[in-house]
């Protein structure tokens, strides 16, 4: 059984990231002036996005369908007798396309029920390829192996639990041309029943809208979003397919394409809906995997940082996104450290006083947390302005995605605005610590 851990050469970079966080925590003193600078750095991208969305509204539109229709295969996968794949296949069959297309399901040979489904070709791979103890990224492995048997111009890759809308192929195909390697569809959530699912739906409605449209328009989209995407088979083969040693193969292939001079594009109106984690535990696990994989990819392609040949991506988007991520993680780490320091040192001296005087009437000074007088705190002003900006940006994204907040989404939305980002950053901190200390990867 293979145990996959962060490679030692990567851990060196994680150590550097960790040292930066520690430096920020212990050596930098935050005051309002410094906070304003950080605040401005954060809103810069929001302002850029708002300006781009207003000036270049046609970027969200799909490119016209090509005169010469490319051949396409729709590929999905199923293993361990995964019957819900039938629903996905039903929807795949309903896809609109001017010429017939192949439907292939990559399986481990346990899905015999597929034999009865007409028009579906099964690509049966050895069972060991699906063994998570043998391969770090099973999806990357089976897709690489399965796609060797496909020879069409394009490949529409759909996860087994994802439902494509009928026009998805028509909308994605036009954009997959020239130097575009992958076109990503806008993902929606299929199971928005409980709180955590609703939060993720809000997140998907926001992120699969303006942020990706803007990145796509800047030729800097760095995520292939594996749920539903259309790939150029030629370029997929040219860059060597998915990296089986990385747990976020869709992000890695995007970087691989960008590194080779190709692009990833996004068409928000091409829709597909997927299943998201239903419990906080499974959500945490999924995001931890995304974070660890994402960091690994960033380290692997560190050479793209400030690479002039990658234009906007190398000179702006990558340094900005990587920099703000580290800055955010450092800020949250600093806040957590200071709160814990205050509580524990206070507790320590509380106990010292208790033993010194035999009794104690000291307590943790809550007046530091709750001011006695009502003043609008300057920090609060910054927070307020940030929230207003974020709200405008999020609502603008919702507007692009035709999403309206209903009553049932109010509390998840408040959570999304004020807490969700904090949770994601905590997951980021955990992922850095895990990778630094070589905790094994898990799915």
């Amino acid at each position: 059984m293979m145990v996959y851990k962060t490679p030692y050469n990567y851990r060196f970079f994680y150590l550097i990231i960790f040292l930066i966080i520690l430096f920020f925590t212990f050596a930098i003193k935050l005051n309002v002036f410094f906070t304003i600078v950080i605040f401005l750095i954060f809103i810069y991208f929001v302002v850029c996005s708002i300006l781009i969305s207003h000036k270049y509204s046609d970027f969200a539109e799909p490119e016209p369908f090509p005169k010469k229709v490319p051949t396409v295969t729709v590929v999905t996968y199923a293993f361990n007798n995964f019957k819900p794949i039938l629903e996905t296949i039903d929807h795949i069959k309903k896809l609109e396309y001017p010429i017939p297309f192949d439907i292939c399901v990559i399986t481990d040979g346990t899905c015999d029920f597929l034999n009865k489904v007409k028009g579906v070709k099964q690509i049966k791979l050895p069972k060991e390829y699906f063994d998570k103890t043998k391969y770090l990224n099973v999806k990357a492995k089976i897709m690489n192996e399965g796609l060797k048997q496909i020879h069409t111009d394009n490949v529409l890759s759909i996860d087994g639990d994802t439902i494509p809308s009928p026009d998805v192929l028509m909308k994605l195909t036009g954009t997959l041309k020239d130097n575009v390697g992958i076109v990503v569809a806008g993902l929606d959530v299929n199971n928005s029943n409980n709180f955590i699912e609703k939060v993720q739906q809000i997140e998907y409605k926001f992120s699969f809208s303006l942020p990706r449209v803007v990145l796509s328009s800047l030729n800097s989209l760095d995520l292939g979003s594996g749920g539903c995407n259309l790939m150029s088979k030629k370029l997929f083969d040219e860059v060597g397919g998915y990296d089986e040693e990385n747990i976020t193969e869709d992000k890695e292939i995007a970087y691989k394409l960008i590194s080779a001079g190709y692009l990833v594009k996004f068409v928000p109106s091409a829709k597909a809906s997927t299943i998201v984690p239903s419990t906080f535990k499974s959500f945490f696990k999924q995001r931890l995997r995304w974070m660890r994989g994402g960091f690994d990819v960033s380290i692997k392609y560190l050479s793209l940082l400030f690479d002039k040949s990658k234009k906007t991506f190398g000179l702006f988007v990558l340094p900005y996104s990587f920099g703000t991520l580290i800055l955010t993680i450092s800020l949250v780490f600093k806040v957590i450290y200071n709160v814990l320091k205050y509580v524990f040192v206070s507790l320590y001296y509380f106990l010292v006083n208790l033993f010194t005087y035999g009794y104690s009437f000291s307590s943790i000074d809550f007046s530091r947390v709750i001011p006695k007088h009502f003043f609008i705190d300057s920090f609060f002003l910054l927070l307020l302005i940030s929230v207003i900006f974020s709200l405008y940006y999020i609502l603008l994204s919702f507007g692009h995605n035709d999403f309206k907040l209903t009553k049932g989404y109010l509390i998840p939305f408040i959570y999304f605005i004020f807490i969700h980002g904090f949770v994601i950053i905590i997951i980021g901190i955990v992922s850095i610590i895990y990778s630094l200390f070589g905790v094994k990867y898990s799915w």
Binding site: K29, F33, C48, L51, I52, D178, N179, Y357, S362, P371
Partner: protein, 225 residues
């Protein structure tokens, strides 16, 4: 290499965004600065008003001594002093909140104003004790001011809290107690004079009945009278 039928994003967008962010930054920075100044000015005005009141007390005291209608001067002046003492304490609390989130630290002008006002009030109370024989228990409490965001600060906060709670307990036991809190600073001449006079070598410390106390347990042995 990059070929797209749509027009590409102009680099002017980044510049425009930078200008917008800069303008927002300047508005926010100067807005916060102005707001801090507004709060400080308000507080300063309140301190000035309080000082005027204390000055008037002295004049009023002289007036009462020569007034045709005899009234209980001691009672009136004590009420005045109590109200001024409470107000001064309240203004200090406000000052702490303002300083906590200020963009630019003050030149300590308002803080010194508080300290001097408190010393004036202490003198008034001491005089009232002598002139009116009020029998007030006057305590000077010197609190430490360690550097912010340090372990020393947290440690000192705990000890200060302990002193304050113990003093509150003492005040309950002896309701005629008046505590004057002063920072342990030597750069204000009158304050330094008090520190030297009372041989205060560290803080937090209490000066009760001309004795300097560092160990709180000693406060239990102090009489109310």
């Amino acid at each position: 290499m990059v070929t797209n039928t749509k027009k590409s994003v102009s680099t002017n967008i980044y510049l425009a965004a930078a200008i917008v962010v800069l303008i927002i930054g300047l508005i926010v920075f100067f807005g916060v600065l102005e707001y801090d100044r507004y709060k400080r000015n308000n507080l300063e005005d309140e301190f000035k008003l309080l000082n005027q009141q204390i000055l008037l007390d002295d004049l009023y005291s002289s007036y009462l001594k020569t007034a045709a209608t005899p009234i209980d001067a001691c009672n009136v002046l004590e009420k005045q002093a109590n109200a001024e003492f409470a107000l001064n304490r309240e203004l200090l609390d406000k000052l702490k909140v303002i300083e906590k989130d200020a963009v630019v630290k003050t030149d300590n002008y308002i803080k010194y104003m508080y300290v001097l006002t408190n010393i004036k009030l202490w003198i008034n109370y001491t005089n009232l004790n002598i002139d009116c024989n009020h029998g007030k228990k006057i305590i000077l409490y010197f609190y430490p001011e360690p550097p912010e965001a340090t372990v020393e600060e947290i440690k000192s906060n705990q000890l200060t809290r302990l002193f304050e709670n113990k003093l509150a307990e003492f005040s309950k036991r002896c309701p005629n107690t008046v505590v004057f809190a002063l920072p342990y600073l030597t750069d204000i001449p009158i304050l330094n004079q008090l520190i030297i006079e009372n041989n205060v070598v560290t803080s937090p410390a209490l000066v009760v009945d001309n004795n300097t106390i560092y160990d709180l347990r000693e406060l239990d042995d102090v009489n109310c009278s």
